[in-house]
């Protein structure tokens, strides 16, 4: 079974600075998806960014970018120019491309990000 590990339960960043959240995963598959979700105090889960494993280019979405290292099974999220609205729980998630695992998102335990004004 796949596992997702977020080793930083909490992190903080100064407003306008850059922060990187870590995520590692364990899988024997070659085709899969990786995601970062944001959960603000409202608790709605919001997709931040996605990465297909077959793509070598790292995904970017405005101030959010990832560093995808397939061989190392690492998928970190970088937030540039941090804003107060970025304060939230961030979850890393894995989804298989094929098979029974493709029906399930496997989540890490989350990293709570605080933004200091």
């Amino acid at each position: 079974a796949q596992t997702v590990t977020q080793s930083q339960p909490e992190m903080s960043v100064q407003e306008a600075e850059t922060v990187t959240l870590s995520c590692t995963y364990d899988t024997s598959e070659s085709d899969y998806y990786l995601f970062w979700y944001k959960q603000p105090p409202s608790r709605q889960m919001i997709l931040v960014i996605r990465q297909e494993a077959y793509k070598q280019q790292n995904a970017t979405e405005n101030r959010f970018s990832v560093n995808f290292q397939k061989a190392a099974k690492s998928f970190s999220l970088k937030i540039s120019d941090s804003q107060l609205g970025d304060a939230a729980m961030y979850f890393c998630a894995y989804r298989s491309e094929y098979g029974a695992g493709s029906y399930q998102l496997t989540f890490g335990k989350g990293t709570k990000l605080s933004v200091i004004p």
């Binding site: 998806y33 995601f35 409202s42 608790r43 709605q44 889960m45 919001i46 997709l47 996605r50 979850f91 989804r95 491309e97 493709s102 029906y103 399930q104 998102l105 989540f107 890490g108 335990k109 989350g110």
Partner: protein
């Protein structure tokens, strides 16, 4: 565009009472549908998923059940709630591959 609706937003129920949470999706057909639970301060746990009408797969044995009476409707139920059923319940949909889109969630407190 696709939207997902989940209700109610908040629910307080006594132990032993029944439960029914509803989720509907608009703007797509034959979605995969999911129910997740998030206990306080913890990650998300998949409870049920469905790939079609009447097709339900359970990931965790418990006193909850799910049903999919229509293509874009997913219902989470219980005949008798336990204190341990308290938590935040999230419905989600997806296509066969790719990411999930989540509903706004239901905060359930069993007293």
């Amino acid at each position: 565009s696709q939207t997902i609706h989940q209700w109610p937003a908040t629910l307080v129920q006594p132990v032993g009472s029944p439960l029914s949470l509803e989720c509907t999706v608009e703007g797509t057909s034959n979605p995969n549908l999911y129910w997740y639970r998030q206990a306080a301060g913890r990650g998300l746990q998949l409870l049920f998923y469905s790939v079609g009408i009447g097709q339900i797969s359970s990931e965790v044995p418990q006193n909850l059940s799910a049903s999919r009476p229509q293509d874009r409707q997913f219902i989470l139920s219980s005949k008798k709630l336990l204190l341990s059923d308290s938590g935040f319940y999230l419905c989600a949909w997806s296509r066969r591959t790719g990411g999930y889109t989540f509903g706004s969630g239901t905060r359930l407190t069993v007293v």
